[in-house]
Subunit: 427 residues, 2 copies
Amino acid sequence: MTNPFELTATDAIKLIGKKKLSRYEWVQSCFERIREKEDLIKAWVYLDEDKALAKAKQLDNENDKKQLGIPFGTKDIIDASNTPTRFGTSFYQNNIPMRDAASVAVAKQAGCIFIGKTVSTELGHRAPGLTTNPHNKDFTPGGSSSGSAAAVASMMAPVCFGTQTTGSVIRPAAYCGVIGYKPSYGDFDKSGILPNSPSIDTLGLMTRSVEDISLFRSILLEEELVLIKKVDLKNIKVGFVKTPHWDKTDNSTKKSLEYFVNSLRSDKLNVIDLEIDNLISKSDALHLDISGYEFKRSISHERFNYYDQLSDQLRNGRLNDGYQVSNKNYQLALKELSILKNQVDAVFDEIDLIITPSAPGEALKGLDYTGSPIFNTTWSLNGNPCISLPLFTGNQGLPVGCQFVTRFGNDDKLIDFSNEIYRAYLK
Amino acid sequence: MTNPFELTATDAIKLIGKKKLSRYEWVQSCFERIREKEDLIKAWVYLDEDKALAKAKQLDNENDKKQLGIPFGTKDIIDASNTPTRFGTSFYQNNIPMRDAASVAVAKQAGCIFIGKTVSTELGHRAPGLTTNPHNKDFTPGGSSSGSAAAVASMMAPVCFGTQTTGSVIRPAAYCGVIGYKPSYGDFDKSGILPNSPSIDTLGLMTRSVEDISLFRSILLEEELVLIKKVDLKNIKVGFVKTPHWDKTDNSTKKSLEYFVNSLRSDKLNVIDLEIDNLISKSDALHLDISGYEFKRSISHERFNYYDQLSDQLRNGRLNDGYQVSNKNYQLALKELSILKNQVDAVFDEIDLIITPSAPGEALKGLDYTGSPIFNTTWSLNGNPCISLPLFTGNQGLPVGCQFVTRFGNDDKLIDFSNEIYRAYLK
């Protein structure tokens, strides 16, 4: 018999519907798993078992099928009422917001059960927390949504919320071997989430099935569940994008992706090699200015009041980037971005789906560096929806993700395509 | 001798530089004025005199000219650390954020002295607080930035922060007879401000001089003060936009505007009658969907936890608007908006400056209704910078504003033009 903590949300809900599982048992099982794994993985900064179990019992008693009972965690830059939000810092220990972030409020309203806050890097930037990679404790889980990826990978929760400004959902998802989803920019509300670079910041999800992405998308949009459609992959046009960063990709990841693309071609899928290096290089340059400028401003309170307590990575990284950019140059960058977005959109006139690495390789050894977002910047900046699927394994035995991207606004199609590919090509 | 509270920030800073005024005297004078007027005007929900005076004394002692000492207040949906943010509601009495909003942090860093929080309508929507119009206590001050406009008009503070999603800076500024400024969308950071409709929400300013707008713009952008340039108004092309709402405008306001435009023409300014009704009607329609959809989502915590305590105006107003819009239609509206923004931008290929009413007339009698934003929606939605100048007086003896609008991003020019017009045409 499967332990409840192993279930995807979609599967557990079915069992609850058939009275083969109670919400209480499910939540309890997740907390048992947390007790078993947390010492090693350190995914959480706050847990509220008593409240979560009480809520599960209440929902079981009420027996309203629409109250789903899904246990979920959120990255520690996302507010949950009467729960500390510490932003991955030491100086916000007593920061207890009264409001749920809109995403948390909406999930709770659907009967999802908030179980705790997951480790974030410092203020959602790079300086890591204590989380380890669930596949090997000596390796980084990636960041900035480190704890969310690690918690879902180690089956402490079926779903956790993360956020992405550069590669903070897709990369940790790839490193930890879970499914990561960054929706189209603006699709999920951000009220109650620490702004990092508001023109780019996007709330995303970590799960262990594509169905769960679809399920949580419907919950967060407060809309009926869009059933995943079967797609004949032979009818879609796919672009394999190596990017200008291909030479920074490790050999085993290159080989896995090329092998995968060749399999698709053998299976008569229409996959072209797509070269959009100019768009990607332009995105890298604009992202540096826009994210730096906006981040510097968003964390004004911290740079003026806690500068000495900020990490060198932050001070010398994005904060310093921001100090190099004038308002005039920021405005110019935004203007260029609006042109770039149209150019990126036009790429999808020719193809339906892009396949590209999620990260330059497996997770890196050591916990100091959460890895490079070079394969994520373009899609974050331009607001395209993307999903990372844990399709491969690297030389060190750690998961390697493959990233799928569609046109801005085509999230449902992305989910359909990803689901089909995951079923057909997961080893 | 002028009382310090009567001074604009620009003038007071000059006196401080010449040692003819101390920061302490200035802040103290504002609090004396508050004691004199607040019972009638009710502009404030929170004041911190002790801390403000202590800060002023400290800055006087340190005697750093760059530490400006400007007393300022913020609308009660803008966080200030260790100070309650109640969002114009009764159910957030104990909401005390640890962080300053970025705008507050940056102002404090420049030595501006936070004196308190001003009355906001409920959650920045329409249900009014207790604030009265400083020109006649039986009339609305407008909203949602009601207290900020009234505080500046009654000289309790030289500058206050407001926010605008529809007409929430320009309208109360016009009703209270102060200068209101809504910058280009995105120009001032919004971290720590309650999101209302994040694609539109803009932080703005209330002052009593155009120089003070320029001064605070430089403070908030953390850039050197851009000195206001003298403009020969004869060299700019002006469009007089009556809008499709001209027939909803009161006669005295119509006459004032037409008289003003005729004066400009007599003075050899190049003023054309500009008809952009289709763009304005399209803006009204899109604003309804986008602001409704986003607002409904932003206040998810409140609608799920405090629905019974929300006003009918909110429940039947923007919240209900939001419930009518699906995610698909929202996405379509955003797509249409990006096209509309280009069309609005193209209007400014032909002209430099738009002149249009700030509001349909004087403030209305009674405190229940904060007035109509029909003349503001287009510029809020499309992100254009606008300034309201208190140029006229209506039949009831209350101020009437005139609104000036430039191309997105042309804030400096808007300030230059407005300054010139204010000097030349203020009666």
